[in-house]
Symmetry: C2
Subunit: 148 residues, 2 copies
Amino acid sequence: MEQRVSLITLGVRDVARARRFYEQLGWQGQEVDETVFFQANGQAIVLWDRQRLAEDAGIDGDTGASFSGVALAHNVRSAEEVDDVVTSAASAGATVTRAPRTTFYGGYAGCFRDLDGHVWEIAHNPGFPLDGDGNLTVPDLTGPPSDA
Amino acid sequence: MEQRVSLITLGVRDVARARRFYEQLGWQGQEVDETVFFQANGQAIVLWDRQRLAEDAGIDGDTGASFSGVALAHNVRSAEEVDDVVTSAASAGATVTRAPRTTFYGGYAGCFRDLDGHVWEIAHNPGFPLDGDGNLTVPDLTGPPSDA
């Protein structure tokens, strides 16, 4: 199994409502069979009815969840951009669960939940470089620790 | 907000156990501060203690979940590869929730849950091309429907 993800499917209660939320953040997608596909970096982010997603994955007894146990991070290039994205998300109806602030890893980040409770962290992390296309590279994290 | 994901963090109960699971599937990661980073396509997949993840995201009252409402798809280049990955995952302790079979979209796919219940679909979908690096491109889905 190669180290990659092809699609991230977010189960949602109302596909049209969820689509409008992401469109308000500036995203553009394609919809087919009540399923919305957003092209992302080398993968697709998909919005699909949560019950159909559970059934399709062979999962019984979805009781809903207070927290999905999954967080998606969207890294940006400055602290200002963190503030801007979190503000836009709040305007679009997101719940800000952690106002932007400096983080334990020396960055600056805030968190919100989308209309279905999916967690996004918007982060500026100088230690994790982004290339011109927005692709993230994990740096060497296991080198000799600094004296700091 | 650009259309991309920088990190996918999976909340897990036992980081070491979760790391071993993904390593059994052939992945290689780096661990720092009880957090495991796997370099994926333009992003990182991260394993982190579920409770710390919830707290970090400002989320109270995580009751656990029967289903996270999120599914990650890993697309491969043949039906045989689907069978191989699902078999490997089962050997590593995954629960196969949908044995590989042909799908409604004309592909072939199976689903499993990892040791913490995170859902993976392993899919061969001829309609969603993968490039040599394994990056997925969403095709034009809104063109004229076929007569089929």
